[in-house]
């Protein structure tokens, strides 16, 4: 029964994408928009294939993923530390919460100009943008996760003799882990946004760079193709990497039923 339903859902989603591509192709075939501005799905796929064959695509994907990975690890370390302090110290929380909420309203691309001023065209500027884009979200998620820990975990830990200095590692961080992972996932997405924006201007390799190069060459097929690739990788990591970790933790913590 269940798998039948799942199959049906998969079919519908597949049909939806077929329709989108059909619509895209139809719009192209009608010819209202000039071809150099609006290439067909076939042309986009062909251009991606050429980029791959010429050895541009894979190194760029790799460069972007490595940058994002490194930047994410750094940002997570910073965000978790600040979030932990905010979670256990009400006065720190009061101060940083408003600051981070403010910073979060800033579009991630808005960090690019200041990073150009500080770091010029160097690689470090990209890390700067990734970190500034994602740290506020991760710190806020960590602190609010800690503040929402069910009090009975803390009471149980205390009556079991946990000294105050052992509380963060033994109870506070593990108990807040579901919220922290959700925050890390959001941080990754924001860092991805910021990082690709920074790559547009600062890099000589990477997905953002290929996007920019496509524009320079007036190559709409390349621009759209790289956009599709960026979406695919973003989705893949968000849904399948972070999404699966998040769900497993939520099941183990008893916040979600298996398969529910």
């Amino acid at each position: 029964m269940k798998s039948e339903q799942a199959n049906k859902a998969t079919m519908v989603v597949a049909l939806f994408y077929v329709l989108i591509f059909a619509l895209w192709q139809t719009l192209f075939s009608v010819g209202l928009i000039p071809e150099y501005l609006f290439p067909s799905p076939v042309q986009v796929t062909k251009r991606l294939w050429e980029l791959g064959a010429d050895g541009y695509l894979l190194p760029s994907v790799e460069a972007t993923l490595v940058r994002m990975g490194k930047g994410f690890i750094l940002a997570a370390a910073i965000g978790l530390s600040i979030g932990l302090v905010m979670g256990v110290s009400p006065i720190t929380n009061l101060c940083f919460k408003s600051l981070f909420l403010g910073l979060q309203t800033l579009p991630t691309a808005a960090w690019v100009p200041i990073s150009l001023l500080i770091y010029g065209l160097s690689e470090r500027g990209i890390y700067f943008v990734i970190i500034m884009s994602s740290v506020p979200a991760m710190a806020l998620a960590t602190s609010s996760g800690i503040l929402q820990i069910p009090p009975f975990y803390l009471r149980a830990a205390k009556t079991l003799g946990t000294p105050w200095y052992a509380m963060p590692a033994r109870v506070i961080l593990p108990a807040a882990l579901p919220a922290i992972v959700t925050g890390l996932k959001l941080g990754w997405t924001l860092g991805w946004h910021g990082g690709v924006s920074a790559e547009l201007i600062k890099s000589t390799i990477g997905l953002g760079f290929l996007l920019y190069m496509g524009r320079e060459l007036n190559d709409a097929a390349q621009v759209m193709g790289i956009m599709v690739v960026t979406i695919l990788f973003g989705l893949l990591l968000d849904r399948f990497f972070f999404g699966i970790i998040e769900q497993r933790i939520r099941i183990r913590w008893g916040l979600e039923k298996r398969g529910g």
Binding site: F152, Y153, R155, T159, L160, G161, V171, P174, I251, R252
Partner: protein, 278 residues
């Protein structure tokens, strides 16, 4: 009848105990009261009370909600500080929670990030004789899991256990650090009758085997009669101890036993007809 007066589980007396002829006083509460101050009013949760608890006793605080029984348990555990009075545990004042006065809660409160055996090991980590000695911690935890009959589940995760199993693991976790007194805050209401009966049997079994001092809170008169050596009947507004009833029945007792039922009736009567209002 042997279990009735429980000579077997009596604590060994100190050599020079001349002032205390029978058992050692484990807990002494003098004039303890608690008032909660809200923005608009002060609520006296517990009127000034005196209480002494001896080693090896099973004392049940019985009463309706809002009668101060849980507040008193929190004060003994060290979660609340009394507004007036003094709590002496083995002669020294109680200032904060600790594993010598270990509390079991209504929820199982097992840590989901640890598996079953690591949950039971948890309370040992901070005890001097166990610190950094993982193997010793694990062996002790295993022996407690064996005692509650869940040794096959030591690697299981918390969410994989049934409600009754979780509560039994919580019991093992509470007993592993060898607390001087086990404080039990209505831990069974969420469970079905069959599982509860089994847990009562477990709890009495442990009491008889280890001679542990246990203080339990309940609003179920049968539960009180089944478990207690001594039932303290609390009445609300303000919370106070109305009456003390000794339950002189042999152990192990069955909660469905007729004599237990008769004691439950007497306990209920105390609550409904307080003597000073007659």
């Amino acid at each position: 009848m042997e279990f009735g007066n429980r000579t077997k589980t009596q604590a060994p007396l100190p050599q020079n105990a001349s002032a205390e002829p029978s058992r050692a006083k484990l807990l002494q509460l003098t004039n303890v009261s608690k008032t909660f101050q809200s923005a608009t009013q002060a609520v006296e949760a517990l009127a000034p009370s005196n209480l002494e608890i001896e080693e090896g006793e099973f004392v049940v605080f019985f009463g309706p909600s809002g009668c101060g029984k849980s507040t008193l348990l929190d004060i003994i555990a060290g979660f609340e500080t009394p507004t007036t009075g003094e709590v002496l545990f083995e002669g020294s004042p109680v200032t904060m929670p600790g594993s010598d006065r270990l509390m079991m809660f209504q929820e199982h409160t097992l840590f989901p990030w640890l598996n079953v055996v690591r949950n039971v090991m948890y309370g040992l980590k901070h005890k001097r004789e166990f610190r950094f000695r993982l193997r010793k911690q694990r062996e002790t935890a295993r022996s407690w899991l064996k005692m509650i009959g869940l040794e096959e589940f030591e690697k299981s995760l918390v969410h994989e256990l049934s409600g009754g199993m979780k509560q039994r693991v919580a019991l093992a976790r509470a007993l592993a650090p060898d607390p001087k007194v086990l404080l039990v805050d209505e831990p069974f209401p969420a469970l079905d009758a069959l599982v509860r009966t089994k847990l009562y049997a477990d709890l009495q079994d442990i009491l008889v085997r280890t001679g542990k001092t246990i203080i339990s809170v309940t609003h179920d008169p049968r539960e009180a009669a089944c478990l207690a050596d001594r039932v303290l009947v609390f009445t609300p507004r303000p919370g106070r101890v109305q009456k003390e009833i000794r339950v002189d029945l042999p152990r192990p007792r069955d909660i469905n036993d007729q004599e237990v039922g008769e004691y439950a009736g007497r306990i209920m009567e105390e609550l409904e007809n307080p003597p000073d209002e007659k």
